[in-house]
Amino acid sequence: MTFSKNSLFTRQELIGFIVLAAIIFLLLPAVLDNFRLNLFGKYLTYAFVAVGLALCWGAGGILSLGQGVFFGLGGYCMAMFLKLEASTPENTSIQSTPGIPDFMDWNQLTELPFWWVPFHSLTIALIAVVIVPVTFALIIGVAMFRRRVGGVYFAIITQAFAAILTILIIGQQGFTGGVNGITDLRTLKGWDIRTDEAKEVLYFVNAFLLFGVLLIAQFVRKSKLGRILIAMRDQEDRVRFSGYDVASFKIFIFCLGAAFAGIGGAMFTLQVGFMSPTLVGIVPSIEMVIFCAVGGRLSILGAVYGALLVNWAKTSFSESFPELWLFGLGGLFIAVVMLFPNGLAGIWTEQIMPRITKLWAARAGAVAPIPATSTEEEGAI
C-alpha cells in the first residue's frame, strides 16, 4: 500500500534514478568525445535549475521566470574567485594597476572593490555560490509571499528581477565585466581547468553534484512538505486553514530552487570558463522553464531529460539555422503545453509504461496478476 511506508523511492522511481545515472555516468562518457562531453556537462548545469523548478513550479505551483538570476549569481560568485586567481600581479603586470582583474583596469579602477576582496578565498566563494542566491530568493520570497503575491504577478516580478540584474551587470562594467562578463578564467587553486583532462573531471563532479541535488529533491518530494506543496497548488486556503503558514513553505521551496540554480551556475562557470549577463536575463530564464516543462514539470528526473534534450536540440538546430532557433523553442513550448502538459515524464508514465505493463501481462498470460499502475502523481518519475 502506498501509505504504509516512509521509503525514499518506489521501485519505479529507483529504476528511473538508476537509468539516469547509467546514462550520465556511463553512456555519455563512453560515446561522446571530449568536446561533446563538455557540452553535455554544460547542459547538465541547466538541469540543476530545472530540478528546482520542478519543485517550485511543478509541485508548488510557483512559477518563477527569473531563475537565471540565481544561476547567474552562483556563476558569478565562482567566476569572481577564478578571476582573482587568474589576475596575479605577474599575469597582469602590463596593466596600469597590476593585480586586479583586467576589465577593472580597462575601466580605470585602481583598487579592488571591497566586496570583491572576500572572493580571494575559495571557501568563501563556494559558500557564496549557495548563500548569495538563497539570500536574494529569501528577500524576494519574503517580500512577495508574505504579501500573498502569487501566480502571474509573481512570475512577472521575477521576470523584472532578471531584467534588473542584467541591466545592473551590464551597466557596472568596472565591477562586473559588463556585457562581456567575466572571462579568461584559468586555474582553480593552481589546477588548470582548461585542459581536456580537467574538463572530464569537472563533468563527473558536476554529475555527482546533480545527483546530490536530485536526492535532496526526491527527499523533499517524498516528505510531508512535498505533499503540502501539491496541496497548496490545489487548495491554498485549505492548507492555510489546516494550520500551516503557507508563505513560509513557499519561501522555503523558492530558496531551495535558488540554491540548486546557484550550484548549477557555479558548475557552468567552471566547465565553460566564463560567466556573462547573457545567462542571467529574461530569455535564459524562460528557456529554463521550458527545459522543465518539456521534461514534465511534475518530475524531477524529467527535468534533467528536458534540460539535456532541449539544449542538445538547440545546439544541433542553431548550428544549421541559428535565426530559427527561438521560433523552434517557442513552438516546442506551445506544443508541449497544448499536447503533453506533463512533458516527457507524462508521455512515459501515461503512454509508454501502461503499454509495457500490458505487454508484460499479456506475455505472462493468465498466470500473473496485472500489476496496478500507479495513478498517483508521485508515481511520475
Partner: protein
Amino acid sequence: MGLHERYLLKVEGLTVSFDGFKAVNDLSFYVEPNECRVIIGPNGAGKTTVLDLICGRTKATDGSVKFKNQELLQMREDQIVHAGVGRKFQTPSVYEDLSVFENLEISYPKGYGVFGALAFRRDDTVQARIEEIAETIFLEDLLTEKAAYLSHGQKQWLEIGMLLIQDPELLMLDEPVAGMSVAERKKTAELLNRIIKDRSVIVIEHDMGFVEDIATRVNVLHQGKMLSEGSMAHVKADPKVIEVYLGH
C-alpha cells in the same frame, strides 16, 4: 484564577464593510461549550462571511471575536487554527491530486513548520489515527483513492474528516449537506450527531429538518444583521423570521 468562563466564543459588534456595503453589521452572539449553534438565513445574508471573519479569512472592520478569551481578530489564520478553531468551506475543498490518506495526513496536527514537515514520519500512531478518522467518515475503504475520484458527498466527508483529525474545540461547518443525495444526507446527519459531542459547533444550513435535528440554538441572519436568536421553536414562531425567511 478568575471565574469559570461561561462562553467559548464571544462575538461582539462584529462588522465588515466591503466598499461601504456592510455584509455583516454589528453582530453579537455567544457560543457555550458543547453547544451546537445553527446559523440560518436567506442567500446573501452574510452567513459565510461571519465564518470568514471568525477564522481570519476576511479582516473585520470593527468588533471583537474572543475565543477562550483570546482576541482572534489580531491573529493569523494558522494561529487561529492552532488555538482550536476548525472551519469547513461551503464548496468541498480537498486536495484532488492526493490520496484520501494523504489528505488526512496533511491535517494531522504535527509537523506544522517547514522543518517539522520535512522531518514528519508516518508512524503507527499517525496511521492508526488516520484509519480511525477514515472509518468515522465512511471512507475506510478508499484510503488509497485519489481525492479527485470521490463523489461530491465523499469529498464533503473527507473535508470534515480533515477537521476532525485536528480535534478542534470549535468546529465551523458551512452547509455540510448541500448537494448531497438523500442517502448521503442521512449518513451525514448521523456523522454530525456523533461529532458534535464534546465540542462546540457552528453550522450553517438551509435544510430545516436537519437544523431541527441538531441545533441547540439558532441564529437567523438577514442582511448582515441578527434577526432572531433562540431555540428552533422560538425562532420559528418569530413573526420577523416568518416574514423574511420561513414564509417564502
